[in-house]
Symmetry: C2
Subunit: 337 residues, 2 copies
């Protein structure tokens, strides 16, 4: 069941999308074409398409972050554009590495444009994110270290993910560390970067970073659950796609290390690889559930949400910003499950 | 015949390599491993290897650039580290995209670590380049726009290169524009970035940028010649590797568009693809020469060198910096041919 989208997301989209379009328009035409495709703005020939509109979670966080530090909505726009560019850089690259075929009901960038152009467009979007902040004067410079820190953690998380794939020996702590890098870091950055732009790194920025990091874990755990059980019509990914790919996402590792009979059967089935047939995909999906992997992930997501909200208590936020962050956090964790 | 290496290169290496090592040491261990492999510091397991030492052309230019603007050698170090990181980011990524198997007599990064880890390590090195400048305070911030400008041009050049591969319709202007992006931009940046760090973008920085851009073209044309005729023992690439890969490098395009009989035979042989056999590789290599492609490239390299040296006349450089730049430029264009 889809819940109504928080007002803060609509408000952020309204200011961020034009700025994001203006930034992407600075790229060379071929890179702008691939970036626009990745952002759901155009088809592979450059024709505009009906834009469904993503969750815009990261830009929304960046906007609220600026306001939480006493800045204006406008102060949050360059940071918001930067985090959305970095997010899409990582999606483009990850799809190449993971050989994922579909995203948001469309063929992924590398399927349409080839590996090379997809990698290059990702690089262009990453570099553009730095440009956007650099054009924002001292505020942008104050925000830049947040962004590079998150990018390094993103890279490290994806590197761990690739290294773990098809490995039988991943424990839950290593898996969660990987997910903290892949998803937590950029949400932490999004929640902190607006405030960092307004006043530099301080206690508030650190509290917002912790909030975003915990929220990111909750978000990722929900995503992991949807990657195993999700309705492909809603998620835009094929059902059980993570199981099919042999991904050791947190619910899978929780199941494998559960000490249950179902967990042992799952380990025997997967070995150090992936399911060999659709029949095995279905069986693996059932065993993950039976071993308690999905229940554990749902509980852990709730716990992380609690930790995120607790981090906000450390900061004395303006009440509007506090309300927006809490609403957004609950929305993220309660979506479609 | 290898000529003796200019003193400026040795001097730059001495200060840049320790700073580069300190920067790479900040990366996550797996990324530092791949980066160290790419930089010829360690084998795939992380064991130190005898370091042959690259040409260090870009860091050397960055160091002289800082001195040319009245800065110290130390002022040039962060820019030098940044350009060397960006150079190696682009090598790692290009090897993935071009499926090149060997570089500097060793298997390329993706061959050893897989596509994913090679792409990620490239991303980490690119991001680290920004970090290095950011840690350098206001001077670093002054230098950053040079770097992002060069990165965008690098990306665009590689994108054109991929788009041109196997295309029969590339003209010489498009080909030279592509090479200006792939090689000219980062040499332009290297020659300008030290000065930009010292005093921001001004007339001197622009003159140094033009010098580097022209030198880069001369450098690339020499590289193109070596990629067709070069001795694999010296270049570290397989002989005729560019011909084998179907690359439309400038000498090839010059041959194809020469209007000569050999050029027409070359066009018929290559079609819109690459040679099908080693016999065809040999024949194509001969036809490129016969059609005047190699002679044209050698003359054009000399012309570009002249333009580079003329650009230096626009700037009133300290005599030591001027001497170093002229020596380096001549060294680059006269290497091994």
């Amino acid at each position: 069941m889809t819940r109504s989208i928080p007002t803060a997301i609509g408000r952020a989209r309204e200011v961020v999308i034009p700025a994001l379009r203006a930034a992407v328009a600075q790229l060379e035409p071929r890179m702008a074409l691939v970036a626009g495709y990745q952002l759901d703005w155009n088809d592979e020939f450059g024709n505009s398409i009906e834009h469904g509109g993503g969750k815009a979670l990261r830009p929304t966080l960046a906007i609220i972050s600026a306001e939480a530090a006493g800045g204006t909505l406008a102060d949050g726009v360059p940071p918001a554009v930067a985090v959305e560019l970095v997010h899409n850089f990582s999606l483009l690259h990850d799809d190449v590495m993971d050989r994922d075929l579909e995203r948001r009901h469309r063929p992924t960038g590398w399927v349409v444009f080839g590996d090379g152009q997809a990698i290059l467009a990702g690089n262009a979007m990453l570099t553009l994110a730095f440009d956007v902040l650099l054009s924002h004067g001292e505020a942008g410079v104050r925000a830049l270290p947040c962004l590079t820190e998150a990018v390094h953690q993103l890279i490290s998380g994806q590197s761990d993910d690739l290294a773990f794939e098809g490995s039988a020996a991943v424990d839950l702590a290593a898996c969660l560390h990987m997910e903290a890098g892949k998803t937590g870091a950029l949400l932490a950055c999004s929640a902190a970067i607006g405030a960092a732009a307004v006043r530099g790194r301080d206690q508030l920025v650190n509290a917002l970073w912790r909030f975003g990091a915990e929220l990111g874990m909750a978000f990722q755990l929900v995503d992991d659950i949807l990657g195993i059980t999700g309705d492909p019509v809603i998620t835009g990914k094929s059902s059980s796609s993570d199981v099919r790919a042999g991904k050791r996402s947190a619910p899978v590792v929780a199941a494998l290390t559960s000490g249950t009979n179902a967990g042992r059967r799952l380990a025997a089935l997967l070995g150090d690889g992936r399911p060999d047939s659709e029949e095995e995909v279905r069986l693996a999906t059932e065993l993950i559930s039976e071993a308690g992997g999905l229940d554990w992930a749902a509980r852990e997501a709730d716990r992380r949400l609690g930790a995120a909200l607790a981090a906000l208590e450390d900061a004395s936020l303006p009440s509007a910003a506090l309300h927006d962050l809490v609403t957004l956090a609950r929305y993220v964790v309660e979506r479609d499950h």
